[in-house]
């Protein structure tokens, strides 16, 4: 019995030692070389996914962001310059007096940041869908 216990303890100790050893080995293993990220370039629009209707080569970073190497989101005014006023947009998505209209929300009104739902460089989001089953297409 005592032997058995002693045997078990020694196995445990061995396991522990091996585990520690392994850990030490892992720690000293040099890290894999990491690929250096490509530096930002002036013609960044080429490197970002854009909306289909912005991909005809006519829209550059400067057109929306005002600068060639943007580090901030484009202002709403840049969107409205081509897409029309908030009122125009509300009219465009009007489907009936008692039907939901994303551009004239009973909660948020009609003067929200386009960027709440529409993302230029990634997939857009349906913010209404956070609470409602309603799922309009968000370009």
């Amino acid at each position: 019995m005592i032997r058995l216990v002693l045997g078990l303890i020694s196995i445990l100790l061995l396991v522990l030692v091996v585990a520690c050893g392994t850990a030490r080995v892992e720690q000293t293993t040099p890290a894999e070389p990491v690929e250096t990220p490509a530096p930002a370039v002036a013609e960044a629009s080429m490197d970002y996914p854009n909306k289909p209707h912005h991909q005809d080569g006519e829209v550059s970073c400067v057109d929306c962001h005002g600068v060639a190497t943007p580090d901030e989101a484009a202002p709403v005014e840049a969107c409205l310059e081509c897409h029309g006023s908030y009122e125009d947009l509300a009219e465009a998505t009007f489907t009936g007096e008692h039907s939901p209209n994303p551009h004239e929300s009973p909660h948020y009104g009609n003067d929200q940041d386009c960027g709440l739902c529409h993302y230029e460089h990634e997939e857009s989001e349906n913010m209404c869908g956070d609470c409602h089953e309603w799922a309009p297409v968000v370009p």
Binding site: G96, E97, H98, S99, P106, H107, Y108, G109, Q112, L116, M127, D130, C131, H132, E133
Partner: protein
């Protein structure tokens, strides 16, 4: 079996060890070990990214009230909101605000007083209310209502009589939404030049050795649901931090731990926006705040079973179906509760039904339903030419349903509900075809529980029972004011009244 105590003591050892190491490593964390002093998680930074007098966390009624009052008292104030849009749950709520002694009550010849209001709150709250706080709401909500009117909020020219209230005293915004109050408040905040920083989530509070809140850490650029998104920033709060972070109705694991009936597996939905989660409450509790009534979570008995969230059906039930109609168990065709009882009474018994109960009203009732067109269009409310059609469509035994309506009409005619003691409103006639019916299933709506505050909206430390210096809380994050059940249209009341108090207290650093 015998492993348990060993594991437990080991865990404690590890915990104590870690805390001890932390305290040794950073001198600023010594307070973590002192009873009665708020517990720091991270040492107070030596320099800050931003500095204000008062930092308000959240952007609903309580937060905006606090920010406006804080600014008016001369404190440089900022509002931070974790979601991408301001307004919290307030901007999607029903816009119902109860107050005593108002101009509309005067106009309609209704006698009311803060005392009756207070007694109504205590009755619904099963006297579990932190009574001095409830009294403050009752005594100050009239002022708060007038304050919103001065800010440009527009209300309908008619009062509503909500369940559990002794008299009609509830104002409703002209657009039947809380946005009717929040948007003018947001305009005011903008006009005053108080910055609102959205997509900023508070991660922790910085506390010095004396237990004084020095500021907070945030994730700037946070995107809801992506917990490691955004950059860490520190914001100094010279005078105080106001927690106005709302309830935890949308925090399924947290709410289910408090009330296991509210797990997603029971098909219980919530009326709240997705940001209504518990992390701010948890942080406040972690540093020494006292939990109050956390398991008292209110369900909305008026919510439609045929749409998501609060939707358009809830207002239909509140304004038309419950006051001017009757509700039956779909299996028996019989009434089973006073349709105007308080929310808890109604929701608890509804949850014990096998199928969604049906509420039936008529042309007279729907005159009061501001959302009727949307309800009909979306199939949330359906119109029927006969009672037999209502029965057939909802698989209700038709004979029983007819007998129920005959009895109900008799009660309406005599002005006395012999079965459930419902108080009939003026203008309630005997029901006649055509009928309008809605199927209901209760949804998680409001958290009565939260952190403990005193009369000045100061968060109380449960070690020593003194206020945590520099920490204030208001709105749904606070527990106790409403006791076991909040009366409908008393939440905005509480948020406005205590939001204003919190803002003033923080600005004055009391």
């Amino acid at each position: 079996m015998s492993n348990k105590p060993v594991n437990q003591s080991r865990r404690n050892l590890i915990k104590t060890g870690a805390a001890g190491l932390g305290a040794l490593a950073a001198g600023g964390l010594v307070s973590a070990m002192t009873p009665g002093v708020a517990k720091a998680a991270k040492p107070v930074p030596s320099s800050w990214d931003e500095e204000y007098d008062v930092v308000v966390v959240g952007s609903g009624y309580a937060a905006l009230s606090a920010a406006i009052e804080s600014h008016m008292a001369g404190a440089k104030t900022v509002i931070i909101e974790k979601m991408k849009v301001a307004g919290g749950n307030s901007i999607i709520n029903g816009g119902l605000l109860a107050a005593p002694g108002t101009p509309l009550q005067q106009q309609e010849g209704i006698k009311d007083s803060p005392e009756i209001y207070y007694q109504d709150m205590l009755k619904a709250g099963l006297n579990m209310n932190h009574a001095p706080l409830a009294r403050i709401v009752a005594e100050n909500v009239r002022d708060a209502l007038m304050w919103t009117i001065d800010m440009g909020v527009e209300y309908k020219p008619r009062l509503n009589h909500l369940g559990g209230h002794s008299v009609p005293r509830t104002y409703n915004t002209t657009n039947s939404s809380g946005s009717g109050i929040v948007r003018p408040m947001l305009d005011k905040v903008k006009e005053l030049g108080i910055p609102i920083k959205t997509k900023r989530k508070m991660t922790t509070m910085f506390i010095d050795d004396n237990g004084q809140i020095q500021g907070i850490e945030v994730r700037d650029g946070y995107r809801h649901g992506k917990e490691d998104s955004g950059k860490l920033k520190t914001i100094k709060a010279n005078r105080g931090v106001v927690m106005a972070t709302g309830g935890f109705s949308k925090d399924e694991p947290f709410r289910k731990a408090q009330d296991p009936r509210l797990g997603a597996e029971f098909n219980v939905d919530s009326t709240n926006q997705p940001g209504a989660t518990a992390e701010a409450i948890k942080e406040t509790l972690r540093i020494g705040g006292n939990p109050v009534h956390l398991s008292w979570i209110q369900l909305g008995p008026w919510a439609s079973a045929d749409e998501q969230g609060f939707g358009v059906g809830s207002m239909f039930s509140i304004l038309a179906a419950f006051p001017f109609g009757f509700m039956v168990d779909s299996d028996t065709g019989k009434r089973f509760v006073n349709e105007l009882a308080d929310r808890k009474t109604r929701a608890d018994i509804m949850l014990t039904r096998k199928r969604p109960p049906v509420v039936i009203t008529d042309e007279n009732g729907v005159k009061f339903a501001s959302t009727l067109p949307q309800c009909l269009e979306r199939g949330v409310v359906k119109k029927y030419d006969t009672l037999a059609e209502v029965a057939e469509a909802n698989q209700i035994p038709v004979k029983e349903l007819e007998a129920t309506m005959t009895a109900y009409n008799g009660y309406v005619k005599n002005g006395e509900d012999l079965e459930f003691g419902k108080r009939f409103r003026e203008g309630h006639d005997q029901l006649k075809a055509p009928f309008y019916a809605i199927r209901l299933w209760p949804k998680v709506h409001h958290c009565m529980g939260g952190v403990q505050v005193d009369e000045k909206a100061r968060v109380v430390n449960n070690e020593g029972w003194k206020p945590i210096k520099g920490l204030y809380a208001a709105g749904e994050v606070v527990g106790g004011i409403h006791g076991a059940s909040r009366l409908g249209s008393c939440a905005i009341a509480d948020c406005l009244v205590f939001g204003r108090i919190a803002g003033k207290s923080a600005a004055a650093s009391v």
